[in-house]
């Protein structure tokens, strides 16, 4: 999921009048030392990586002197946190914390709308608190049309008897601002955990902002790459390339995620890595269930549906086939309403460009299974262009099932392997 680094989130907080600790970003240990000197006193040096639980991973450390800040920053910058390299650290004043609070606005699957969440126990997983101390949590469903105002937050927080009226007022103001950030930036989640109460005031000690991946294109100011959501990890180069396909073109969609980017999982389970491509995610999931037991491991999940242009298919095929570890390519459609002749044209154009010497005939086993509108034209196009004449291409049409598609791929792969293949 496109997520902002803590320091980027804090910039947005500052612009929206949510106080954050004094601090600056450093890319080199010497910079960290200079910042620590400027801030004076004890500082926190925090790795800027897109992973949770940085504290437990040793990615947040404290330094009493500028020299110590330099040393700590050098260690953090040389480390990998959750297998991610650390390119920046945030050097911040250390706060004298009296109390920790949680607040966030997120998208609720249950109400299909935003929900505001407040917890008296900050610094902990909100799910954990919800289970152990539900009385410490207040939530408020938000109407996207009506918005969420300070008085809505006041009504929500009044349920927490532990809070004084002054505290309710202060937190309500921050919560309403959090919602503004959520809406303005097309977020899926905006979270402060913890929001800390100190002698000096109330500060967002951390910032988590997740942007809706379908809305990243609307926020060039955030400087984020558009890519398909792939869990908590950072996107791969191919996912970033695939993210460009839909960027400026709303006609149909291309979703591409690398499930096993370096094929390590396939190797570990002694499975054959393949490129995987479907029209319709339902078909993709069902076919996945059929192909896996036969000993194959799709390295990617790609769904090009919603009647995408031929050029979107072209791009998707080039990206899938650029995964160096693949030993086959399995393409299938569900009973698609989209123009499958267009789908076929995109695939054919890609194959002809990738395999110019053979006129598009691939050197790895490929199954192309078309079901739905214009599927006969799709199959005919492969024939006209001579691609289906390849010994390593199997065309299927209309009457195949996911099971037969997987079995046909298996047969073709075994033949390819037996005969030495085209590689």
């Amino acid at each position: 999921m496109p997520r902002l680094m803590e320091y980027q989130g804090k910039e947005i907080f500052k612009k929206n009048r949510i106080a954050v600790p004094e601090g600056e970003i450093a890319q080199f240990p010497e910079e960290a030392r200079d910042i620590a000197k400027k801030l004076g006193g004890v500082v926190a040096v925090k790795a800027q990586v897109l992973t949770g639980k940085r504290g437990k991973a040793g990615a947040i450390r404290f330094a009493k002197t500028p020299e110590e800040a330099e040393k700590v920053a050098a260690e953090i910058l040389a480390a990998k946190i959750d297998n991610l390299p650390v390119e920046k650290v945030l050097v911040e004043e250390m706060l004298d914390i009296k109390r920790e609070i949680y607040m966030g606005v997120t998208s609720s699957d249950a109400t299909r709308a935003p929900v505001a969440i407040f917890s008296l126990s900050g610094g902990m997983d909100i799910e954990e608190v919800a289970e152990s101390h539900p009385e410490k949590i207040a939530t408020g469903d938000i109407s996207i049309n009506r918005g969420f105002h300070q008085y809505d937050a006041l009504n929500m927080l009044r349920k927490l008897k532990e809070l004084s009226s002054g505290e309710i007022n202060t937190y309500a103001q921050i919560l309403a601002r959090l919602y503004t950030i959520y809406r303005q930036n097309d977020c899926k989640l905006v979270e402060i955990n913890p929001l800390v109460v100190t002698e000096k005031g109330i500060f967002a000690a951390d910032a988590r902002i997740d942007i809706d991946d379908d809305a990243v294109w609307r926020h060039p100011e955030l400087g984020m790459e558009q890519f398909e959501e792939a869990g908590a990890r950072e996107p791969t180069d191919l996912e970033i390339a695939a993210g460009q396909i839909d960027k400026n073109d709303h006609r149909g969609s291309a979703h591409f995620v690398q499930i096993d980017p370096d094929a390590s999982r396939a190797k570990e389970h002694k499975k054959i890595p393949i490129g995987y491509h479907c029209v319709g995610a339902g078909c993709a999931i069902t076919l996945f269930d059929e192909i896996s037991p036969l000993g194959y491991s799709p390295l990617d999940f790609c769904d090009t549906s919603g009647n995408p242009t031929s050029l979107k298919l072209y791009a998707a095929v080039k990206i899938i086939l650029s995964q160096p570890e693949i030993k086959g390519y399995l393409f299938a459609t569900g009973m698609a309403a989209q123009l499958l002749d267009n789908t076929a044209r995109g695939i054919i154009k890609a194959l002809k460009e990738l395999y110019p010497e053979t006129g598009g005939k691939p050197n790895i086993p490929c199954v192309f299974a078309f079901r739905g509108r214009s599927d006969e034209v799709a199959v005919q196009l492969f024939k006209e262009h001579g691609i289906s004449d390849s010994p390593w291409v199997k065309m299927l049409r209309r009457d195949f099932s996911e099971k037969t598609a997987a079995e046909e791929f298996d047969k073709l792969y075994k033949k390819w392997e037996k005969e030495g293949g085209g590689i």
Binding site: D237, D249, S310, L311, G346, S374
Partner: protein, 110 residues
């Protein structure tokens, strides 16, 4: 665009280029026939024996051309190979070049 080149951009960001000198020598004008896709309507017509746009470049860019690549593929098979459609995929070439630097080849380069 010169006298012998017809070039236009599409909504998807493709650049479509007709080498009209090649089109002059083409006997089939297969692109015109291929362009008549069901429900979508054509964007090409023959004018003075050459493929020409039925719409302004602005309208083409707004989506009149559906990026179906039917013209290019038909031209390759039945025409005179006068059409090229370039559709850059940002970052993909860099990725493949990066693999090559590390001595890794994609399957289609083996």
């Amino acid at each position: 665009m010169t006298e012998n080149i017809l070039e236009f951009e599409t909504m998807g960001g493709a650049l479509i280029r007709f080498d009209l000198e090649k089109c002059d020598k083409c006997k089939t004008k297969a692109c015109i026939e291929a362009d008549h896709l069901p429900f979508l309507g054509p964007v090409l017509e023959l004018k003075e024996g050459r493929p020409s746009l039925m719409w302004s470049p602005e309208e083409i860019k707004k989506g009149k051309c559906t990026d179906c690549v039917a013209c290019e593929l038909a031209c390759q098979l039945y025409g005179n190979e006068g059409i090229t459609i370039s559709y850059p995929i940002p970052k993909l070439d860099e990725y493949v070049a990066g693999l090559a630097k590390r001595g890794i080849k994609t399957v289609y380069r083996r």
